[in-house]
Symmetry: D2
């Protein structure tokens, strides 16, 4: 269904941009894990708005309140729910889009899907704000994985087509009231060989499913990805060798995944982030009510480039997907 | 879990390359649908081996036998199971890979995952042959969608980096005992507005999860995809307009999906297909038994380019994903 | 997984008896449904403690706060989360059971399952208090079903073996510091013919799965139930007849369900509620720490008979199960 | 959905009484398990028809053919599919019920659900014959559990209300062209403490869901079950004690389950089996076509008492449910 994910660890995300609170429930956490709350907040802050000159001026503390699942800071095995209250909401900013859908947003598709009853304010459940609870869940899972020696780390690869001058690309867009997209690369290291289920629940399938949960992601590729389509097998195949007793591959064009299953090499994938659809520049749209063309200039608060804040979100989604599959690790061992 | 997919229509794929049979069970089909068996066979034949000079000489009839779910050719509401018997198997070809994993294949990862009990022969459950039951299911679903006015069609976009000379690229690789990859583009038209669940069960999430079930797929992008990362919002946003009473967008950079939900515009996505990992050229690998380096030359039968045969597989996967979400269409309408 | 239920409507229950809050998230609600908040509170009050002389003196207002999923009182299609804050908690009462598990409770099994990290206080996630969020969800679903003409109603059938003098049976137990069990009967009327999936997702399977989510339920039977085991087919079979154009059965020994599917006759089932395990009478148990026998007298607050408060819980569980299957009603109709 | 069950071990049952074959696919089996095919056949034979004078004369060999998932007799980690071909079908016997639904069967409910496209023959997917693939799956799972020291065993408790003279009760019914029901008791021993997920995926929830997949089951109770409703807490609570270092309870009124989780005591439950609805005695029904009353005398082949053949089916369902939850056993242990 919609806003929940996972078979072994299950997360359910709720909230709208301007509802009383947003939050997440996590089921299947191990009992007895001590959450490092400071580290979690540091992780949350990487995503939080209002932290740099390129992000939306809407400043939310984004400090999770834990309603259940803990005794002190230690997981107790019961579902963990954490929420963030929405305090700094300016719903008036969104009056216009009740009638005029913003290009590039889910306003129109949600309007039809929910028969006009969708929560328009701030994009409702489709707002990028919903990546905050994703990061609560992902931040906790990252800590659990780290305790097992598994690290998930993402970084900006390109912005606006440039890998060398991202700040400049953002500033150029911002100065025009425009926005710009980019590419994020994520790496998972320390994952043992053999993680990932065949066919539809492989690492690629499940990471992709999770990562497309982040608004604005429009593509994902593993290892060489689209560049593999241009290669010959003799170039693309990664040869096996023994590094001591460990089996490795000389190259990592396969991005650490063969047959959907981890090979022991680093998992590497990249995602394409589209430019923020909210721009100040006037755009053509329609008026539902008048049944005719309308012009829209998105006021509100928005980022000229969502890519920097999306980096921890990609880590969060990847961590949850990987951990969910990691929890199957004993399944096929007949013991 | 592993080899099943879907919430409303559920498919479960079983079989190994050289097991007695391969097949698929489909749950949730509508009752009373008359399957056009000839059309289904025509669809199956697009994937079947031995049909062109570029595909593996292993010739399987690939004619499904229906064990259940039908009365005559008409669905009866019970789970439908169809199988294809494996007749033309030459397991001896695979003796070598019990000890020496093929680069680019799942031999090594499956070996570790299943503790050495995996079915090595022909790649076992990881063989491309398992896309035959995927095509049975997808072929049936395509017919059901077509009856609702929804068409799923894929085509080769590029092979070996070239969109103009695919045959030449394949022949060049084949002459070297090598292989080559490519890009497939798939379009879904006729889907009403409002299909797709938010966050983790959107069209992008679920199409991606399904499509990565096809071996050799290493990337997927929707609409402009990775190219969107280089654009500004003002270039990438698709403006709405009224075409009569129908809302459309002037461009389709969003690939028919906004917020995971169909917009009424054609759904467009592309997948990257890696070059067939089986090549005759000698490759370095390892011997499990000897614990040392080994050289492998993959004999067996294999395609110099899997892309043409992957085209119907992409249609099949997309059709199943789209139909699964399409079946939610009444959910949010309070009536 | 654990604390979530459903395929079409999905509910996830979180919280512990003494955590900051307890609550529920509901996915898959129709958009545009106006919740009657007063009626919901009236329903909640039927379960709430402290309302009669037979229930625990712990008095909680049990007024849900809605964090998401609504615009005003109207569902917006996004996941709905409602919580109840835990205010009146006396965790000290439970110090003893950290070391000495209460007979008839989940203290011991949870202790082993969660390795000693379980939340002991008030029974943690296993507390009967968690039926409050179940009733929030069930109360809302009951309203949705009622709008479709489907009514779910449960009542006390027997207490302490008596169907005529329940109050007396409770008072007798209470005067001894003891407790007593009973039987609840639930009826679902107005459900159309054809609801329920075959085999493992039939009405009996799914109602049973939901109802056993209520602590203290130890048995369920449909229609004649266990009494059917003593009958002959000629006595038990319900003959069909036409009542005007409607097909009915003369008797309803089948309890409205044949092959897991609704027949149009009222669905009737009964559940067995065990006596409240918390009693003041001293009981033998063990001390984990000392590794020896120990005597326990449960202080805290508890009901001499949980049956009256369990009645709305049974309605809630049944309503959710039935509605979840009801949402499949268009699936097999090829249109 | 319909005919599949489980989260960790997943079984999907397909086939109709008179389709080409019936069968089951199992996902999530451990790799490397050697199936004892003789023992499996012995188990299958306990369910097979035509083995005693009380069961239907339809004699099917019921020998599973394995299409996939094995190398020799050893599981390879891929989905295992086994089928039984339907050879001895006499569809003509069922011509009458296309128009006149049999009382006590799913004929009418399936007719409405599937819009008249259901497979009428032999009861289609609702036939008791579908318990054969359930027993294939359950028989294999029983072997896996036994290798872990967990035994699942069921037996007849009562037939026609009598625990002492079951044969006589059956013969009495048979001599009248009638049928009779009964009660089966099932015990699971050797299950470690801590198995079972809270709330909706506890042992009671999941065993109940699985067991109601057997046609004719109309009730289930755990431990004291319905009798608990008549007891006081002081009578019903099972006191803990140390038996050496093992925690046990002096009595087992809780049936080995507290809070949905195994206590280490034997799991005990009973199910009510209704009398076989197929009887030779003439019964009143309706004619769809004529829209009026009709009289039906079920010819075909049927058992005067299904209870003896249902015993291994109950074991199969219980084994699958218990094993599915058993596979979660490492989940909460943070290691």
């Amino acid at each position: 269904m919609s806003s929940s994910y996972g078979n072994n660890i299950k997360i359910t995300i709720f909230g709208q941009s301007h509802s009383q609170a947003i939050g997440v429930t996590m089921e299947g956490l191990p009992a007895g894990f001590s959450i490092d709350m400071e580290a979690l907040q540091v992780f949350m802050n990487r995503r939080a708005p209002g932290r740099s000159k390129y992000s939306t001026p809407r400043k939310e503390a984004d400090v999770p309140a834990f309603l259940s699942g803990l005794v002190g800071n230690i997981t107790c095995g019961a579902p963990l729910t954490a929420i963030i209250e929405n305090t700094n909401t300016r719903s008036k900013d969104y009056d216009q889009i009740r009638d005029i859908p913003r290009p590039g947003h889910a306003d129109y598709t949600a309007h039809v899907k929910y028969g006009g009853f969708e929560d328009v304010s701030g994009g409702g459940h489709f707002s990028g704000r919903l990546t905050a609870p994703l990061c609560i869940a992902g931040g906790i899972v990252k800590q659990i994985l780290a305790a097992e020696g598994i690290e998930v780390a993402a970084k900006i690869k390109e912005i606006g087509g440039s890998s060398t001058e991202p700040a400049k690309a953002i500033e150029a867009a911002m100065s025009q009231g425009d926005s710009v997209g980019g590419i994020i690369e994520c790496t998972v290291t320390g994952l043992p060989v053999g993680i990932g289920e065949p066919m539809f629940d492989g690492l690629e399938n499940k990471i992709a499913q999770a990562v497309f949960g982040i608004p604005a992601i429009k593509g994902i590729e593993f290892g060489k990805g689209f560049a593999a389509a241009e290669l010959c097998g003799s170039q693309h195949n990664d040869e096996f060798y023994f590094d001591g007793e460990t089996v490795k591959t000389k190259t990592n064009n396969h991005g650490g995944i063969l047959g959907g299953i981890s090979s022991g090499m680093p998992i590497v994938f990249r995602v394409a982030v589209k430019p923020t659809p909210s721009i100040s520049i006037a755009q053509n749209s329609i008026s539902y009510e008048k049944g005719e063309a309308a012009v829209l200039s998105v006021q509100g608060r928005h980022d000229p480039c969502i890519v920097p804040r999306a980096v921890p979100c990609v880590e969060a989604a990847a961590a949850i997907a990987v951990y969910d599959l990691y929890l199957y690790r004993y399944r096929y061992q007949n013991k």
